[in-house]
């Protein structure tokens, strides 16, 4: 997502990762059952409060969202025009909002589009806060407790760690070939694919060579010596966690109740 994990001393960072995942479930629940864009603003508040406590670098999040805005606008417009507003059970759903080239946009369609846009944007924001406050390995440890085999967890964490490494190697290979006069920009699509060999071959051979040496290094650290290696990470709920958990559970129940009563949906 937009953010990488950063180790910080904030109230939210210090919570147990499981608590933060429960918070995530609360948000997913609300985003899933509510379709009313106004009610979704409540979700936004529940997203933002921990985000602010965790001192989220909002600028980076905004930078990530910015290129999405035109797409969102297009989505909003399309829904406003195309969505069958008569299906919605709100007053004035079919009231025309504006017309473009003879095509009518409805209020209902607009609201539904707004709801979709909010769902997408809020999902990005809350997952960014999650990735910023929960280290990836903790997620793996939790999944391991839930039955994910150690080998799978290890492969995932190693792959995760190697992403930046391979990005560096890729950049280096591109530079090395540029220094030999390679100009991919010069070619059309076909030429570009053809000339990419100069980058792909060294990249793959380096990666292959690396896997072998890495396997050797793993063996040298007794990887696979035991079926059940020690899991070092210990999770412990503190009083703070219980408070947040209770709040989350109450909010979940409340959201469901509100929906059953008949609010929150278009």
């Amino acid at each position: 997502m937009a953010l990488e994990y950063e180790r910080r001393e904030t109230f939210w960072h210090n919570l147990d990762p499981r608590t933060k995942l429960i918070w995530g479930f609360l948000i997913i629940l609300q985003l899933a059952i509510w379709t009313d864009p106004l009610w979704q603003l409540v979700t936004l508040v529940i997203i933002l409060i921990p985000g602010i406590i965790a001192k989220t670098p909002w600028r980076k999040v905004l930078k990530f969202l910015k290129p999405l805005l035109p797409v969102m606008l297009l989505l909003l417009l399309a829904e406003a025009i195309l969505y069958p507003a008569e299906r919605l059970n709100i007053p004035q759903a079919t009231r025309p909002l504006f017309t473009i080239g003879g095509v009518k946009a409805t209020l209902g369609g607009f609201l539904f589009g707004l709801n979709l846009v909010e769902k997408i944007l809020f999902t990005i924001i809350f997952t960014s806060i999650l990735t910023y406050t929960v280290p990836f390995t903790d997620v793996l440890y939790i999944m391991q407790r839930l039955g994910l085999p150690y080998q799978v967890a290890f492969i995932m964490s190693t792959a995760w760690r190697l992403i930046p490494y391979f990005r560096t190697i890729y950049n280096e290979v591109v530079c090395a070939q540029k220094a030999r006069g390679l100009e991919l920009e010069k070619y059309g699509l076909i030429g570009r694919i053809k000339h990419s060999i100069a980058v792909l071959v060294p990249l793959y051979s380096t990666a292959l060579d690396m896997t072998e040496r890495m396997a050797l290094a793993m063996e040298s650290r007794a990887f696979g010596a035991s079926k059940k290696p020690t899991i070092l990470r210990e999770f412990k709920f503190s009083r703070k966690d219980y408070v947040i958990l209770v709040i989350c559970i109450i909010l979940m129940a409340l959201s469901l109740a509100i929906t059953v009563i008949g609010y929150g949906r278009l």
Partner: protein, 583 residues
């Protein structure tokens, strides 16, 4: 007692799969607890193969070869025990830290091994603490390994090997990429661990000058055989043999041998391995000839070989700043003029910004602030491909550029991109391959070649583009002494033919021998820029840049108290001075 030895290698011969020649040939040795053994030898001598035999990589991981003889590690025969059992006795550290760190924090990386053994949590934490203490990594426990410097990464790799609480720690070229200060720090760490915790260590390295002082025993391998064996002093006394094998001989030992041959000093105690020992020997010689001391006029003018500033300026950097995406400042206001025909060495610690600076010279990187003018043109306005006709850049790792089926195609690729006519390309290939001794390899696959040849192919593939300036990033890293000398001689010859050569290196002894201008960088700025004599004798600046002067320079700075000139750069100079003085 039998268990006295942690390692017993008994008449071991090993053939790799499908090999007709053995990689190891009747090798035997023993190692005790607390001993440090240095294994020296040129590329391809069998050093890494031997290391692989010690922890069972051979025969359990690399299968299909033929292993004759026995290797007993703490009473366990490697043939009968799997790597994971042997890994608790012999712990290997490789040259590339990236491939041996498993975890998203330093703590996790170090705990990886013990966790694999299913040890209790308390025991793992105890071991990690011990390893962090021993490798001086306190305060970095929760850092992401990708944020660490190269030296710190390698320390983490060593710590994770230590956390296995092995009886023997094996470092296979583990310090090759490090700058001199980081390297010394690692060797000191190993020494402390070995002596304090009575652990045996095996050091496989090319840097004889740094390894020998902390070693108890030395084995010199050549073509898979043990050529020499003994204490560091004994080994260094075999000057001619070492020279024949092509081993790097510490400068003080070389001077000692050459002076001894002329009868200037009496060779009694064995060759010196440290500057202190050499100082003792030479100063006593000087003092015995005290009457001559005043006569010697400490002037070194006749040794100057610089021609700095003679040619015209071909590259100019004006207040260049550069920052990497993550906000790491790599260049911080660099001003520099490069003259035609210079042989420049760009030096400094790991992460000083040397490579970043060099990548500005052909436009691979464009300055965030400031200007780079190459042959009168601003690099911001030109493509890398255009600039590569003027400035060639040879990458440190040749594997990152090879993708063609043969060396010939590899040499063809650059000039083809520049649109050079085919007959001209063929002419260049012929000329360049002849000069670099690559004729016999032209039809080989580049990736199958030995490391030293690969380096030359990489250089050749840039030379066929016929640039005026050649930038070579770390030409000698990972190379043995003969290969290093060979590639530096090629660069020297190119320089003599009129090419401007810029070398990135922190091998101070080599650059003292070849460069006519040295630029010392640290933290993205130029600390000092001048002739080798000015730069390499400025101890304060070198310290600031985590560098050390050549051994011989350091020796003569000490001797300058006795009236010797202190700006001595090479063994040849030192020898001439001593000869003149003592005649």
């Amino acid at each position: 007692m039998l268990t006295d030895y942690v390692i017993r290698v008994e008449n071991v011969t090993y053939y790799y799969p499908n090999a007709s020649k053995p990689a190891l040939d009747s090798v035997s040795f023993k190692l005790r607890r607390g001993e440090i053994l240095a294994i020296l030898g040129p590329t391809g001598a069998g050093k890494t193969t031997l290391a692989y035999c010690l922890n069972g990589t051979i025969p359990h991981f690399i299968t299909g070869g033929r292993l004759i003889g026995d290797i007993i590690v703490c009473g366990l025969n490697t043939k009968e025990n799997p790597i994971r059992v042997l890994a608790q006795k012999v712990s290997l550290v490789f040259d590339d830290p990236e491939i041996q760190m498993f975890g998203l924090s330093v703590f996790e990386c170090i705990a990886f091994g013990p966790a694999n053994l299913s040890l209790s949590k308390d025991e793992i934490i105890r071991r990690v603490k011990f390893a962090i203490e021993a490798c001086k990594l306190k305060g970095l426990e929760y850092r992401n390994p990708s944020e660490l410097s190269y030296g710190e990464k390698q320390s983490v790799a060593i710590a994770s090997a230590l956390a296995m609480t092995p009886e023997v720690l094996v470092l296979d070229e583990a310090t090759a990429i490090l700058d001199p200060t980081s390297r010394m720090r690692i060797y000191n760490t190993i020494y402390d661990i070995a002596k304090k915790h009575n652990m045996a260590a095996i050091l496989i390295a090319q840097e004889t000058g740094e390894v020998l002082p902390i070693s108890d025993k030395v084995i010199v391998l050549n073509n898979g055989r043990i050529e020499l064996e003994g204490s560091p002093h004994e080994i260094l006394s075999e000057y001619n043999k070492l020279k024949n094998i092509g081993l790097r001989i510490p400068q003080v030992a070389e001077l000692y041998y050459r002076l001894g041959q002329k009868g200037i000093i009496t060779r009694t105690v064995g060759a010196p391995i440290t500057i202190e020992e050499a100082y003792k020997i030479i100063s006593s010689t000087l003092i015995s000839r005290k009457g001559l001391l005043e006569k010697y006029n400490a002037s070194l003018k006749d040794y100057s070989r610089g021609k700095k500033g003679k040619g015209k300026v071909i590259i100019r950097l004006e207040n260049v700043h550069f920052m990497y995406p993550k906000g790491v400042k790599a260049l911080n206001g660099v001003d520099l003029e490069i003259y035609e025909g210079e042989f420049i060495a760009l030096t400094g610690p790991n992460g000083a910004g040397k490579t970043t600076l060099a990548k500005h010279l052909n436009g691979l990187l464009k300055p965030a602030l400031g200007k780079v003018i190459v042959f009168g043109e601003d690099t911001k306005e030109k493509s890398v491909s255009y600039l590569s006709r003027k400035v060639g850049y040879v990458y440190q790792n040749p594997d990152l550029m090879f993708f063609n089926p043969t060396v010939r195609d590899e040499l063809k690729y650059g000039p083809m991109n520049l649109g050079i006519p085919l007959n001209e390309i063929n002419r260049r290939i012929e000329k360049v391959s002849k000069k670099l001794g690559l004729e016999e390899y032209l039809d080989y696959s580049p990736s199958s070649l030995p490391r030293g040849v690969k380096k030359r192919v990489a250089l050749a593939s840039i030379l066929t583009m016929d640039p005026d300036v050649i930038v070579v990033d770390e030409p000698t890293t990972g190379q043995d002494w003969l290969e290093s000398i060979q590639i530096m001689n090629i660069l020297k010859e190119l320089n003599r033919e009129g090419k401007t050569v810029i070398v990135i290196s922190h091998d101070m002894e080599l650059i003292a021998m070849y460069a006519n201008r040295i630029i010392i960088m640290s933290y993205g700025t130029i600390l000092k820029d001048g002739s080798p004599r000015e730069t390499l004798t400025d101890i304060d600046i070198l310290n600031k840049a985590s560098l050390r002067p050549p051994q011989i320079t350091e020796l003569f700075i000490k001797l300058s108290k006795l009236g010797m000139p202190k700006h001595v750069l090479t063994v040849d100079e030192a020898y001439d001075i001593m000869m003149k003085y003592c005649k």
